[in-house]
Amino acid sequence: MDTLLVIGAIVILALIGFVMGRQRAIARSGGDPRALHSLPNYHGHFVALWAAVPALVLVVLWLPLEPMLAMNAALDYFQANIADPGNMDTIRQSKLALLLSLDQDATTIDLSELRADQYALLQTEIRNMAAGTASAGHAAFMQEVADYYAGYRNISYILMFAAGVGVAGVGAGLAWRRIAPDMRARNRVEWAVTLFMILCSTVAILTTLGIVLSLLFEALRFFSKIPFTEFLFGLHWSPQTAIREDQVGSTGAFGAVPLFAGTLLISFIAMCVAVPIGLLSAIYMAEYAHSKVRAVVKPLLEILAGIPTVVYGFFAALTVAPFFRDVGESIGLSVSSESALAAGMVMGIMIIPFVSSLSDDVITAVPQSMREGSYGLGATKSETVRRVILPAALPGIVGGVLLAVSRAIGETMIVVMAAGLGSNLTANPLEAVTTVTVQIVTLLVGDQEFDSAKTLAAFALGLMLFVMTLCLNIIALHVVRKYREQYD
């Protein structure tokens, strides 16, 4: 909230700058606005930009940096005053050992020798105590460090406020002095606006870059622990690594094949539901349905696309899975209550409108002359559809189905709520299987250490997911575009 205060102050300065810049421009023009190169408002904008932009950039850079500096200072303080052997007594030592889960017999604490998780623990403790949200029963000496940290942050906040307001004021002042009738304020303001737009259009690129880099970086760290081939071709997945080295079964297994197989199985079931229903209903809508029917049914089908996936997940777990289990029981089949069939089928329902609207697009894009040519020869509607329209629309439909597959592979909530957690390499749709996305969620939800193979495995899976869907999307978009060009 304090940051908002700084930003608010800068914005107010910018507003004052706008008014003053405008007035100065009018004054310098000698009362005749036509003498100005740009309208007075542009001069106002010019001053306001100089007030706000540099100051805001400063604040934004400061924000992530400041807590880091404060934490470093606090840790130095901790090393010098708290962990100093001269000040160490047995009580403090045991409390610290408890806090940082050290070995009980350590006599001195050297921060540079702490494990990463202990280091993170210490930092979290300091941060929480400074914010007053730490659990009760903390040690007084830790409060000392926390107070130091809070004090440091307070000072740096005041500094930031002063610097932000100062830069804004100086910027506004300099710009204000430059106002003259022949200054091209409009061009400068427009240049700034254009620059802003260019920056905005690169956000998408930066996002992709961010995705690729963060996934790649974490995945590479994972592959330094687990060989890539074991991950890609291993048949056993059980990511339970031990918390302490001496625990039994400390090495988890990271063979992702069961996850890929599960993902494909569920996606396949989903496609078996979505493609026939979506395609046939699209054909009926495009070729047969009366326009009044279409006006009602189409939006209804599109509701299916607007329902959040978490709702589908709940539906699958509450209704569909028990239904399949009961049906299976009644005919003597054992169906898992987290069967791939239930998850896949509900996912299929979700994808129906996706398939049908994409198919509808490509079917209506087939030129009317094709239909007339066929009708003119005495073909019935279904013959025209099956022998002329569908073959002509096939590339587009394939592209749409590929996009739908990519969506099914990346779908998360339905499988998290309705598919299994345990890895199971099977092609039987009545059994529970797990998927890539389910594993990402289970690995990352809840408390986690960032460096363990378990956490990093999620990023490796994420990378696989990203690569798979990206390939599908690129192929699909390419196919669809080629198809469009054919009839444009």
């Binding site: 002359s369 066929s374 009708y375 003119g376 020869l377 005495g378 073909a379």
Partner: protein
């Protein structure tokens, strides 16, 4: 009713439109009486009556938007594919009402084939394009029979020599004129009795046009042909009979020579001498 004198026309409610050499009754292939076509509220064809003679080329001419294409499409019920379109009146093919409930539109269109303004080959091979009609209508039982039909149709359309080595290449890869002849071959393959052609040459260059015109003249021996055309020269070149449409009305109809040399109606005269259109 062989001789359509003015009196008999009046008796039968005929509009005063027919000039020149009359059609023998036994030669009438298609007879339209009081045909009106509506698009929603708009009346595109206003009570048109005319006869089409067998084994002749009948040309429909007239300025754009005069309804000649609409009327043509009414003859094989292509207008059925347009939801808001409604046809009233009486159209008979060999004396059989084509708008009768009992008449099967699929069968009708097999008897009355159609060639469109823009060549519209299906995105399939040349062979498949021609084989499409015989296949859907179940006209053949053996592959050899089908091949024979395809070959003879292509030959009659004058295309066989140009494409016989590449029957399995896409029909869309042909030139515009070849595509149009392919569409004609496609229509012929179901052995129709009447072929409707909706400005078949409007998208083609003069050389391709000449070939198609030549083809039309040859096809006349076996088929009844109705052609809508924009070009009066074309009508004069290929047709035996011409009907002139204006604003949804049939202004006059008669043998081509009479229409072009001695039209009765002022509008026809104006159009063919190029004063409007």
């Amino acid at each position: 009713m062989n001789v359509q004198t003015k009196d008999s026309e009046q008796d039968h409610g005929y509009p005063d439109t027919t000039v020149g050499k009359p059609i023998l009754e036994s030669d009438i292939k298609v007879a339209a009486r009081d045909v009106s076509v509506f698009y929603g509220e708009k009346q595109a064809i206003k009570s048109v009556s005319l006869d089409v003679a067998a084994n002749e080329v009948t040309a429909f001419i007239g300025p754009s938007g005069c309804g000649k294409s609409t009327f043509l499409r009414a003859l094989n019920r292509m207008n059925d594919t347009i939801d808001i379109c409604r046809v009233t009146g009486d159209i008979r093919l060999d004396g059989e009402d084509v708008y009768d409930r009992k008449v099967d539109v699929v069968q009708l269109r097999a008897r009355v084939g159609m060639v469109f303004q823009k060549p519209n080959p299906f995105p399939k091979s040349i062979f498949e394009n021609v084989a499409y009609g015989p296949r859907i209508h179940g006209l053949v039982s053996h592959k050899s029979e089908l091949e024979e039909i395809v070959h003879s149709s292509l030959e009659r359309a004058g295309l066989l020599n140009e494409v016989k080595d590449r029957l399995d290449t896409p029909g869309t890869g042909l030139s515009g004129g070849q595509q149009q002849r392919l569409c004609i071959a496609r229509a012929i393959a179901v052995s129709p009795e009447v072929i409707l052609m909706d400005e078949p040459c409007s998208a083609l260059d003069p050389i391709a046009t000449a070939k198609i015109e030549e083809l039309i003249d040859e096809l006349r021996a076996n088929y009844t042909i109705v052609i809508v055309t924009h070009s009066m020269q074309q009508a004069a070149r290929v047709s035996q009979r011409t009907a002139f449409f204006h604003l949804g009305n049939l202004v006059e109809m008669g043998d081509t020579e009479t229409i072009f040399t001695n039209p009765e109606h002022r509008l026809t005269q104006g159009y063919i001498t190029g004063r409007f259109g």
